[in-house]
Subunit: 322 residues, 2 copies
Amino acid sequence: MECLEVEQAAKLLLEQDWILILCHKNPDGDTIGSGFALCRALHQLGKHAAVLCGDNVPRRMAFAAADLDETLRISPKQARYVVSVDIANTSLMGLVLSDYQQEGAVDLAIDHHPSHSGFASNLLLRPEEAANCQIIYELLLAMGVEITPEIASCLYLGLSTDTGCFRFSNTQPRTHQLAARLMEAGADWFEINRNMFEIKTRSQIALEQKALRTLRFFCGGRAAALVVTRQMLQETGASMEETEAIVNVPKSIEGVEIGATLKEQPEGGFKVSVRTGEGVDACEICSAFGGGGHKRAAGCQIMQTLDETMLRLCKKFEEVLS
Amino acid sequence: MECLEVEQAAKLLLEQDWILILCHKNPDGDTIGSGFALCRALHQLGKHAAVLCGDNVPRRMAFAAADLDETLRISPKQARYVVSVDIANTSLMGLVLSDYQQEGAVDLAIDHHPSHSGFASNLLLRPEEAANCQIIYELLLAMGVEITPEIASCLYLGLSTDTGCFRFSNTQPRTHQLAARLMEAGADWFEINRNMFEIKTRSQIALEQKALRTLRFFCGGRAAALVVTRQMLQETGASMEETEAIVNVPKSIEGVEIGATLKEQPEGGFKVSVRTGEGVDACEICSAFGGGGHKRAAGCQIMQTLDETMLRLCKKFEEVLS
């Protein structure tokens, strides 16, 4: 594996054609934005390219994939060069991309995860970047690509979603500087933020309401937990995907340092999402139950009844907060 | 009244001392940020200055007023020069600032509202700025003030709150450029955004839950309304101030173009907050009931029973959407 600078990666890509771009499963705005910005850039240069995503492109991000140049699209089989974007390791490829999990299947990985496992022949890794789209932007400039409104929108999507609309601790001055440039280049920033951060479906609202009734506080109000049962999903028609926003609710309550959301699983037990404030390590909490993640956001699975799961979590919260 | 450029206003302020800065009643982040950034700047220059606010500084913004240089603070009576910030007209001064409502009482008004009424002897008005704090930043630079972390935090507060954390349609490339500079200058941006946009009180959560039970859709889902009754406030211990976040909920539901929140008033009747999507004029809706406001956010008061109020609104919504 060779580690590249942006200019080297740009040179490599300029030499290639028939390029397939891989986005990770459960795609977020950063992998989708990175993938389609790069694809549009390659089309602009007259190269044949397409995006292959580990799961369907979420409806709210469909604009990124819209109106691509059909004459330059390729099928996965036609690919002569494979690039992954925002994929930290091969397990994030999922079933759809399983052909690309073997060594040497990916020619170039472009990523910003510090935990990147190094599965590709060439690697452009910049772990200091808030969003992978920040790297793609530099890459496109190095390739001499014009930042069209469509490309700007893709890049803004990644920038905005990976930083929680400029609120997460990873946000950098550079993130804002780039946002300004993308606005000037014609990014549809208002609609992107509205769709990604504001709009909720009716079933999401109904689910949130039901889940909020289960809100419980522990440790004198320093910890709080919500439960999402399968029955709630059935009754409201909400999908598991639509529980995304809910997991941030317990932690958003004044005085709460540990927020947990317990999601009942089809196979029994609960998936637990933990969000913490400064001074509390979410990853440490989840590791105790065989899970993991980041300092402020982590997850684990506990194969127990609801009461037993709550009890175990509560004990751990008390331990961590004392 | 004389209209000034930034450099002229800077020169004027540099010639003055014993300066009183006025912030409007029901203070938001932009008036508080503007007021205390300017006050800190004047203190840095060795001038005597203080902020007088039309209402108490909200707890979430208390940092802006913390640790001021006591040796340079003045009482309102000591003031020899009066500056208003982010005040569009004298009715926004309220009881506390009623002494300054008469003509000539304010020496310099610094504002960004297009509707500014022109009540001061000198006016620095830049209606093209997303936040008044953007003007204050230019002013401080022109005055040769060093942007300390404390000043940067005050300015970031105004920037971020007046643009809904860079999401409202008034956000400019310039807003992001300035955010980058303020981050570099040491603004406590993470905590500011957390306090202004994320944290809810327990009573707010409880109130939201109760209010959500009243959610009704009209016009085939293109309009939605919530009710906040006085009983809900009593039962949850929430204040009217804490209904701020709720008024955005109906409009945030997928497919909804008009969102209304009806707040029961102590004197009877309902205060109605209306939020609309593109293509629907909230101000037009509220004007029909004697109210007013902006295109996307407006308000009115309807002195009727709940059913009658809903009926009238629904009729108006149908008219506007047809």
